[in-house]
Subunit: 387 residues, 2 copies
Amino acid sequence: MQSLPFYPQGFRSCAKNIGIRDTTLDFTVIASDVPAAAAAMFTQSRFCGAAITVGREHVTDGQLQAFVINSKNANVSTGAQGLANIREIVQLVADELHIAPQDVLPSSTGVIGWQLPMDKVRAGIRGFGTDMREGQLHVSAHAIMTTDTRPKLHARKIGDAVLVGMAKGVGMIEPNMATMLSYFVTDARIPADQLKQCLQEVVNLTFNMVSVDTDTSTSDTVAIMANGLAGEVPLADFRQALLEMATELARDIARDGEGATKLLEVTVEHAASFEQAKRVAKSIVNSPLVKTAIFGTDPNWGRVAMAIGKCSEYTDIVPEKVSIAFGDLLLFQGDAVDQVDLAQLKAYLHNSEVTIHVSLGIGDARATVWGCDLSYEYVRINGEYTT
Amino acid sequence: MQSLPFYPQGFRSCAKNIGIRDTTLDFTVIASDVPAAAAAMFTQSRFCGAAITVGREHVTDGQLQAFVINSKNANVSTGAQGLANIREIVQLVADELHIAPQDVLPSSTGVIGWQLPMDKVRAGIRGFGTDMREGQLHVSAHAIMTTDTRPKLHARKIGDAVLVGMAKGVGMIEPNMATMLSYFVTDARIPADQLKQCLQEVVNLTFNMVSVDTDTSTSDTVAIMANGLAGEVPLADFRQALLEMATELARDIARDGEGATKLLEVTVEHAASFEQAKRVAKSIVNSPLVKTAIFGTDPNWGRVAMAIGKCSEYTDIVPEKVSIAFGDLLLFQGDAVDQVDLAQLKAYLHNSEVTIHVSLGIGDARATVWGCDLSYEYVRINGEYTT
């Protein structure tokens, strides 16, 4: 595991295996030495996990001091028992850290519909407080992984402060007003209300623009703590750093999508609104027929036209105004079909990043989304997940 | 090819290869000896094919006398040239049959973005009028196939009249207010306005409830001709026969979904409205994670909870009121997690038909949708489609 080049002040962490399902890392705690300004966004799923219910309560006052995350079990569809279990975990973690339980934000990710093995969890939590160390966030980025093939972790400086962000998630990825699991910590001083606004703006341009498979997780959480130990930084600089880091993490997630062999970036411009641009871009990036064609390097660009066409609620979209390009290769423009060089398109599709550019020719709005191709490996991973 | 046990009076057809892409059947005409009452529904795609534009014009007056259908090329995204080509085809067919061109409804299905090879088409159409025969509709059902593995064709009697229906389509299947290609002919006498209403009601309960891959075709068409040669039949009997036949064809399409190994039937009941029941059922039947789990016989029923949960616009859906069953096996009910026998669920998933029953516990509405599993073969078929 590769450690980070620099760390924010006053954050300690610990990651371990507590035997939830196998012997790999499945439990981590990230804590600030002092109470931190905090914000979080969660899944809009009607079947959200028990940890989401508790996390929503605890972040309401804009202050947190620790994240506790387990992988291998999502604690979803587990009823009253599941809720009691996560509240007990939060209390045990707070006791170990000598902090208030309402300053702990929990997350759980993994299989839906199974109760947590609480005997193992209690034994695993006991005494971890003495193992909390600085400089160990890269181990936490491993502990939150499920079918991820690599950790997703970034650090950058903002003046004297440092921002670190991590994420997990490669399947059940179409966040809706929230995201997969992602955590940011910084020692910059940012008031809680500004932190919340900043997080919402950034998430809507980054994590909410990713889709691996159109399936929205029951456990999506993105959360940030700013403990202020490095003092104030310009808010615009902080927002820009958060935006760039979240964009990198969003691309990391798409590139590591279950079974993915290629990162797919779709930009729709000259749309009537951001919502329209996003809807059309998502329609393309989520089309199983577009995704399989890109996996198979089949130059079947007409499927992009199909995916635009199925956004039938937008009657202002007319083929005569639309253009479609892959990379620099213009394939469709208005009502004319150019001499398309399919061999050139096929060659382009061998790249590990495929960019699709669509202009709707209506207005000034644009949106970029990220996804991945659909491969045999996606089917294998998800046909064998619990067995 | 198996012929039908009985045929409606006064319908002739012919099917042949005209060399659009290979040497398999790719062209068929189905015609009535006399002008027939007619109705049709089409894709809502904003990138609809040229044939759709012409078909919409020609069915407006409630009268048709022939269907002409080519496979292997969808004639979509082909601009003004594509439209001129399909109008020429309609004119050539009308000339051969000595009928009015505005009584011909054309359809094209296949690759998007390629112009039709008109020299071959003209040569292929020349003289086919003398090949029109009764009792050959089963050959037409073959000629409209693309990646279908088998024809989809049914016949039944309604009093003295006969109704025959056929369909094609196994990919790019999530019809929206219309369907894949499907044609019905009957010698019953049904006025055009009643025929239209009947068709709309039936399509909304059958073809519009099928999804193979969430991708809506640019070429969806369902059309019916009733030439009246067998006289009147009770409208209720006719509607019931059409409903049952369309249900059979919808199930045929789902069962033959690209790469499918299993038919998936999802019923959502006790919903607040038909729209809600349909939305939740479609969310389940379209979830790649549900589909791959069923392919792999992985007893991961929690993914059904996930798929219900992502219908987040319905805040009246709460897990406490929901139940989930596979076949007769109840897996989730309210906030309680029963002792789930995952081995029994795994055994059930080996069936070639998998039924999922969800109750939302809110109201009285219900909906049934059909789909299929997601297999390696879907990825292979669609990664290699044009190459």
